[in-house]
């Protein structure tokens, strides 16, 4: 029997993987993928919470599932804008590595 804890563990693992990817990887595209992974970790735990936190009639809490749709939509829009900016950067600099993006002093 798969419990709520199992789902939350996998979702936590996905979130950690995504965050580690953002911190450790040096390619902008991979970093962007990792960011999407973090959003999907949230989706997974939202669906799990929604399924296991039932009301008195035994129905799932649909608020969480509706929120997932909003997150998916927003993530798609974010990818569209984000990839466009990364493509523009690649055209200007011929690179997508974060080490090469350092003309502004830190």
């Amino acid at each position: 029997m798969v419990t709520l804890g199992d789902y939350l563990f996998v979702s936590g693992l996905l979130f950690t993987l995504g965050f580690a990817g953002v911190l450790l990887r040096r390619n902008l595209i991979i970093i962007f993928m990792s960011l999407e992974l973090m959003l999907n970790a949230a989706n997974l735990s939202l669906v799990a919470f929604s399924r296991f936190r039932t009301n008195s009639l035994g129905q799932p809490n649909y608020d969480g599932q509706v929120f997932v749709f909003f997150i998916i939509t927003v993530a798609a829009a974010e990818v569209a804008v984000g990839l466009a900016i990364i493509v523009a950067l690649y055209r200007a600099r011929r690179t997508t590595h974060v080490e090469d993006i350092n003309s502004l002093k830190f």
Binding site: L8, F15, G18, F19, V22, L28, I31, F32, L35, M38, L39, A41, A42, S45, L46, F49, R53, N61, D63, G64, V66, F67, F70, I71, V74, A77, E78, V81, G82, I85, I86, A88, L89, A92, R93, I101, S103, L104, F106
Partner: protein, 486 residues
Amino acid sequence: MIPAPFLEIAVLTWGLILLMVDAFAGKTDRRGVAIAGILGLLVVLAASFFLTPPTPAAASGFWSFYTADPLAIFFKRFALVTTILVLVMAIDYAPAIRMGVPAANPHAGLGEFFTLPIFTCVGLMWMASAIDFVMIFVSLELVTMSFYVLVSFTRRNPATLEAGVKYLILSALSTGFLVYGITWIFGVTGETNLTQIGTVLATQEIDKIPLLFGIALVLVALGFKIAAVPFQIWVPDVYQGAPTPVTAFLSVGSKAAGFVVLLRVLTPFLMLPQVGRLLVGVAALTLIYGNFAALPQSNLKRLLAYSSIAHAGYLLIGVVTFSGAAVAYYLVAYLLMTLLCFAVLVVVGNSGGSDQIEDFAGLAKRSPFLAFAMLIGMISLAGVPFTAGFLGKFFIFDAAIRQHQTMLVVIGVITVGCGFYYYLKVVRAMYWLTPPADSQPVPLSALSRLTMTLLIAAIFVLGVYPQPILNALDQPAARATISMFR
């Protein structure tokens, strides 16, 4: 009488119409789009004074996502005024946009640059009214995503593109934290509505550890928006690289919206003592870092970026002491003086080409009016008496002393001293250094001169007569909202 949601619908529709006009306008001058945008927003601003009062019992359906309390109305007007001023700056900034966007048509990109702030304004207005985490998330993303495009707008300039990418990655990261934090709050309480969450927290015995984890993640995300230490790393680079009107918009609009959401989100959670202690620490760190890192800056945009971090620290003192009126007044003062400084910076930067402080040398001899406007902006930011900036700090410290936050007051007063040094450095450059031999007077359009005059007047009027702002929030319903923070 107009129902409150119509304000956003009107702004959104006007933005879409202007975008369509721009698409079919061919080679005509696009400044008309900006003027039309400003006029449209002014009409909506006027309409916001004729709203139907919200019915108290309406807290279901749409009204469980959206509120029209005085705090929300106040920040809707705040967003509208900010956007109008940013559009005025954007008109002055048009030549730089033409150079920064690669296209055959000389007007390419200008229309979008003038309409995107209008869509950001819609997001800011929705954010002011959002009382449900779903609504907060969606409106926050609307604001953030239009800022992605605006920050990297002049994509021929490598610095701008770099700022855009940094903003993109770090904002998307903060979105990830926000969503995951909301997930845990939802998991513990079973609600996304802030009022319902408050009810659940007050009535039911719940697990504190996952709840605090969720709140911490949400606070991290909001910390990014308001530029609080340790989530301020993106601010100096993005502020320096972005087109100047966008920097102004980011530092005022984005920050104010972050503070509204912070006030709303914290309402149900302030009974948890851990949250209060965490915020005191963040406020102290933000004050110290922002003020001390600003000391050695030689680029004015970067200086204003650090100053914006420092002001987030003062605002956080107001949040910690639960004084909604002091935060609102400080944000208005911050709007006036920051936008005044950026307006001068846009005009001077256009004629000189860079934003180094040394380019302001002898500005008082070249363009006395611009130098005077910058002087007023700077002394108000520093907090000289009889300016709005002074009263803002006064209300914040007053609230802190009443709540016995002595440590924050001490740090605040010391850092104000620091502020005097780096703000007056700019004044010194303008009034005491000699201008370069080949310097010309800076051309200034009538619209900008009018705007700057109004801003200067507002800084002095609100500096001696703050009642209009304080009264705007001091209505029965507002008092209820603020007393929730006590």
